[in-house]
Symmetry: C2
Subunit: 351 residues, 2 copies
Amino acid sequence: MIIEKIAESKFNDSVFDSKVFGKNFTDHMLVAKYKDGKWDEPKIMPYGALEFTPAAMAFHYGQAIFEGMKAYKNENDEVFIFRPDRNFERFNLSAERLNMPTVPEEIFMEGIQTIVDLDRQWVPKNYGTSLYIRPTMFATEEAISARSSNEFMFVVLLAYAPAYYDKPLSVKIADFYSRSAQGGVGFAKCAGNYAASFYPTQEAQKDGYDQVIWTDSIEHKYIEEAGTMNVMVRIGDKLLTAPTSERILNGVTRDSLLTLAKDSGMDVEIRPVAVQEMYDAYKDGQLKEVFGCGTAVVVNSYNAVGFAEERAPIEILSDEESFASILKGKLRDIQYGLVEDPYGWRVKVGK
Amino acid sequence: MIIEKIAESKFNDSVFDSKVFGKNFTDHMLVAKYKDGKWDEPKIMPYGALEFTPAAMAFHYGQAIFEGMKAYKNENDEVFIFRPDRNFERFNLSAERLNMPTVPEEIFMEGIQTIVDLDRQWVPKNYGTSLYIRPTMFATEEAISARSSNEFMFVVLLAYAPAYYDKPLSVKIADFYSRSAQGGVGFAKCAGNYAASFYPTQEAQKDGYDQVIWTDSIEHKYIEEAGTMNVMVRIGDKLLTAPTSERILNGVTRDSLLTLAKDSGMDVEIRPVAVQEMYDAYKDGQLKEVFGCGTAVVVNSYNAVGFAEERAPIEILSDEESFASILKGKLRDIQYGLVEDPYGWRVKVGK
Ligand SMILES: Cc1ncc(COP(=O)(O)O)c(C=O)c1O
Ligand SMILES: Cc1ncc(COP(=O)(O)O)c(C=O)c1O
């Protein structure tokens, strides 16, 4: 690995005062190029602009995937990354579906270890804050012909992630637009899935909702996931979530919460969740909680669900009663190193 | 419009000897930037690299759309673009679905007029060759947060398009993978649609086919379109093609061929075409032709169609008998200015 350090760090403590997510990049980025069937030596260099022609294939044919994970610092200034092995696996699964080369473990895992270690002063310590890690790969060949690119770039960016203000959101259940098709790319973390979701999300916002819960594209009868979150539904004291599939991203947070829920004796069912079942439960007063989960927010409760034209308010339960709050607390305590990590989810950075 | 001309043209006649599509760019490109809710003055400048950070949103969330059209030169060195108004309309339709700003006519149409005029020596004269025009727009804001970008770049690239060697292709009818969902972005010419198609196409190639004919994502019962072509099917003497929909790109070539077919008295039906109907016709010896149509190839006949595990060969008809050849000839004669253009499809460039 080639390391070209920044002449003078941009870091100062006011970095951690920012409230903006995804804009405050650290001193360095990691770049590795793929050409002629192989990866060159990865290079860590100062974060900044590179040269691309507007004919770079990613701009035209969208071969682009990414991942998102977080690093946390504990009281002893030790830095840990949460379950990076899962993101590494998913990244290469996305790569295969998008017909891109996979990234070897030495580049992905060691690259991330090295750059996070180098920029470790950018990892904040406050509960709720973290350093966001964004590995990404996109097509760079200079060609406007609709085929797979022969050249790619793998990049790791790091940005300060401020505490997410945990306001409950309202969500509309999709009854016209779709996020993914059977036999499509819904399970992949590819660029095109996000672009396709912005317009329907904006339409939902015009109707007074914050986000969309996607449903199956065939009949809009079963819920799938939300914008950048998997979705969990509590009916009575049962916690339900859709099985992952070719249409649903296999979320790391979802998996972690399911493990924590089962291990704390909650009644968990992984099976298709019908919109009608949710609606009936709402009418019966049994729709106790609906919440999204993902790396960015960890857990986000919904205080209203839009069933077609009907807006169903959901009372936010107290922290003691809410499955969302209980699970979020358990997960964050592990992430921040406040409790034992019986699952081996935390991976230490550096010596 | 700001025009910064290249110091010395790269053009020489050997440019037209190339057999490669999408790699031979002309001297100039057009660039316009969108920020703070408005477009700045477009600039024509020498084709080449610009600076982007790897955090440019297009690389992460895929807000990226494009168009493709062609310019032709006649014997009198006059240059014509084929139906650019249709591409302009479709570009802005794609922009809306991808939650991107629309591009005003002055920038899109006048920009293309001006740059093609400036690089007119790059427009070839040989029947079958042309200058390919690629307008594209993508998200440039430096932010890794899953939402619409606030900054975009509109670019027009020009590249020499050599004569397409008109070898018949074989196609597999999709029975597992899908290109687009109901309520999705199939009708938009957005980057993600192409990236999603490369892997299934590669799988079809492993089975000995060149391309995929996509089918509805629900049951794979009705054909939709091919990689970068709409599809027409001739059963007996009837020419069939699927209606355009939210899942199918509304091709300019498709529309032009349908007009030519109707006006030459062919029996044309625009309606869903079932895979089973094609298969039954094949068994009855009535599946006379299947062909793709699009700007790049104009018309491309298929000499084999894969129905699940069965490869159905299709005899290529003589130029006199083939609807594909007859229509292709009629369309190209108009494009190259060899016959009158009763439809007003050709738009002259420059004075
Ligand atoms: C579409 C989608 N679903 C679900 C998730 C949640 O996945 P994870 O918990 O791995 O962050 C994300 C975010 O990463 C996402 O983008
Ligand atoms: C997916 C798709 N379908 C169809 C077409 C044909 O459209 P057109 O005739 O406008 O080139 C294209 C190519 O532009 C395409 O990309």
